[in-house]
Every structure is written in C-alpha cells, then in structure tokens.
Symmetry: C2
Subunit: 258 residues, 2 copies
C-alpha cells in the first residue's frame, strides 16, 4: 500500500495526518477487511516519528471501530459483522408452536448458526427498575435467567430475564434447559396468555465487562433493549434485559397509525 508523509506545516498534528492517511487507504479499498496494517515499527520508520505518535494514530482508528489490534499479531482492518435484522413479528405464537425460541427462529431465517452459552439460573431480589416494571411487592423474589447468544460462534448478545418466582416456580423456566419454544412456551403452558410486549431501546458505550463478554472492539456501541412481556390482562410476566453488539443488528418495528 502507498503511504504519504507528515507535513510539519500542516494544521493537523502528525498523528492525525497519519490516521487520516490510513483511514483513506481503508476507504479506497487499498486495505481490505482482514488485512494487516503496516506494523508500528514500519510506520515509525516510514514517517520518522516516535512510537507514541503512530500509536495515537492507530488509537484513533480503533476508537472509530475501523481496526482491531491483536496482541502479538498486528492491527487488522475490521470485518463488518454480519447484520441480523430483528423484525417485530419475531415473538409471534407460530414460532413458539414450531418449538423454537425467538433467537433460534431468527437465526434460522438469517442463515447463521446459533448457539447459547454462559447460561445461569438463580433466584434473588431484582434491581429496582425491574421490580417496578414487574410491579412486584417489596422483597418479592424473582427467577433470574442469564445467558449469552452467539451467531456463527461470534458473541452478539447477552440477555438477562427476570420472572416473578410465583409465576415461574415449578416450571422448566427455573431449569437451565427450558425445553422447546423457550420461556414463552412454558408460560403459555402454565396458563398465561401472552398479550403484548413493550420494548425500550437505548444505545450507549459498553462497560468494560460487556466489552469482554461480547468481544467488542474499542469504539463499538451497544444497543440495549429492555423487553417487558404482558399477559392478555395487562399483567407483566417477564422483563428481559438484552445488550447487543450494535453493528450486528437492525431492529425493525411496525407502528399502526391509528
């Protein structure tokens, strides 16, 4: 690939000139996804600057999510994540009847290989915002189901479900394996007719912990979706708090006009 030089009379500081040149090379397609950038040593030599200067240039591209550094290997142009489109019909009954939880049904449709790991089930007191959404009495216990979803072995989402113990107790919901159709199928078997869901969507930068669990590069935001499931009588049955790697998702919602 072709690199320029740093111009000390330029308004931009050297590290930004270097960052701009590398960014341009990526956008021209001279560096393609998966390609390794020139090593720090090469850039130091080429531009005649100190190491911190080229590191700062690379840092800028990392914050933008354009490149990923791999210790001992090099810095690589980011592979765009395969996008998963979540349509608002993904919780329809017919998917549960087919014996599939929402994530699995959705994965099938987009042709990726789904996997679930890091499943943990506990019984405890919920955080305040969950207690409010579930309209729980003080100190009322809940079942907490935590898990991580992977598509083609890349982690894409973490999810934590909260259900009042009085509703979930005695069902497979308190087991690690909930059986065909997932939580919602078990709720309906137990006589709770699902009425509607409310999803609250926000975006933010991940915590250090989330960055680790979702294997996120620097500068990659997350979509936070908090879904509350209500029965036909308007009573909340479940709160599901999910954190998704933002570049991997498009959420689609249908809104009636009247």
């Amino acid at each position: 690939m072709q690199l320029g030089t740093v111009d000390r009379r330029d308004d931009r500081p050297p590290f930004r000139q270097i960052a701009d040149q590398l960014r341009a090379a990526i956008e021209r397609g001279e560096l393609r996804p998966g390609d390794r950038l020139p090593s720090e040593a090469t850039l130091i030599q080429h531009y005649g600057v100190a190491r911190m200067t080229v590191r700062q240039a690379i840092q800028e591209l990392r914050t933008e999510g354009r490149v990923v550094a791999e210790h001992g290997r090099g810095v690589f142009v980011q592979q765009p994540a395969p996008v998963r489109r979540l349509a608002s019909d993904r919780f329809l009954r017919r998917h549960r009847d087919a014996g599939q939880a929402a994530f699995l049904a959705e994965a099938d449709k987009s042709g990726v290989r789904p996997r679930v790991d890091q499943i943990e089930v506990t019984k405890t007191a919920p955080p305040a915002d969950v207690r409010e959404r579930l309209r729980l009495a003080d100190d009322e216990p809940v079942v907490v189901r935590s898990r991580r979803y992977l598509a083609d072995d890349r982690p894409v989402e973490t999810a934590v479900s909260y259900l009042p113990l009085r509703i979930a107790d005695g069902t497979a919901i308190t087991e690690v394996n909930t059986g065909p159709g997932g939580i919602y199928a078990r709720l309906e078997e137990a006589g709770h007719e699902l009425g509607h869901f409310v999803e609250e969507v926000t975006a933010r930068m991940p915590t250090t912990d989330e960055r680790r669990r979702l294997e996120l590069a620097d500068g990659v935001p997350v979509l936070v979706v908090v879904r509350t499931a209500f029965d036909t009588g308007g009573q909340p049955l479940e709160v599901c708090d999910t954190v998704k790697a933002a570049p991997a998702y498009v959420l689609e919602y249908d809104i009636p006009a009247r």
Copy 2:
C-alpha cells in the same frame, strides 16, 4: 474526593486501576456531573506514576463517554442529557388533529422547549436505499426536507425526509413551513390515508459531521432511526432518516403477541 493507590501486584495494569477508581468515584456520586476530576499533575503526584499512565486512564473514561476534557480547563464529569422517551403512540392521528407535529407534541409531554432549525428543502434524486424503500421508478425525483431538532437549545436530532415529488408537489410539504400538524397532516389533507409506519433502528458512532451538528462529546454513539410511512393500501409515502444523540433517547415500542 478519596483516591486509592496502585497495587503493582494487582492483575490490572496501573492505568486501569486508576481508571477503575475514578469510575467508581463517579458512580458513588463522589464526583457529580459537571465536577472537575483531579488534574493530571495531581494524579501523577498522588499515584506516583508517569504522565502517560494517568492520561491513559482518563482516555479510557473519555472513550466510555463518562468524562469530557476541555483544553486548558480540566476534565469534567459528563452532564447526562435530559432523556426524551419516544412512545410508539407518537404518530397517532389525535396528535395531528391537535395541530402538532410529532416532535413538538412529544416535547410538550416531556416538558422541554422544542426548537427546529437548519431547515432545508430541495428537490433531487434520492440515495439508493431510499429509492428502494419508496419503491420509486428510476430517476423519479423526491422532495428532501432536512432539519435539526433542539430540546432546551441543545441539539438532539437531525432528520431528513424524502417524499416522492408526485405526492408532495403542490402541498406545503415543499415549503419551509409545512403548517400545523406537519408533513403527515398535509398528506392526509391531500387524500393519503396513513396506515402504518415501519421503523428500522440501529446504533453506531457518529461521523465527524454528525458529531459537529449534534455537538456530541467524544465517545457518544448515535441512534439511527429510519422510518417509512405507508398508506392504508400499503404504498410507501415517506422515508424519514433520523440521527439522534443516543444518551438523550429511549425509544419505546409496543409489539402484539399474536
């Protein structure tokens, strides 16, 4: 405020220990929004480390969007933007009947002072993804309405609407001022009955241009919402491409279960 020390036997490198301690102080409320962090010189003294080490710690908090550095003044805990909750009923007819466009109606509800500026109206050929969503014939022209929304004088959202010229021509939609109830009121007056909307939601880091128009700090992601309006016959009438400062918004959607 109370600062700890760096422990060289700790698994975490010093810069991360310092970042963790500052982050904890913010979360404990010991450092409140608007407060200045201890200066680099103070931190260097206190922890007995080199300057680059404390800068790396602060860099981590900046990437997380928790603090903002101001050259010559200091590093400050980020002021959380007032959150605007967008409910899925915000496009209901009754708001238009009340003579208010969606943004104004919504602002009233959350008690902020709304403003719209940078309004530009042009006629041109749309980008490919818009042409697809509007099911346009090749080279079919559209009206493009671009504007910026502010809440309490802080920019929170930019929006670009595209409408087929054959639909918008001869209405106030092609004027800078669309009149009471906004675009959708004018469409209904022209005999187009609104049926439903589809919103596609993604999140990403802003471009340099978006960061400037929305006056975003480093490390603040944006929510991108692309809304397509359909008439009762399922024909697309409008595509609206919005970019929102992520921390300022919660999007709320209602999803039927059957």
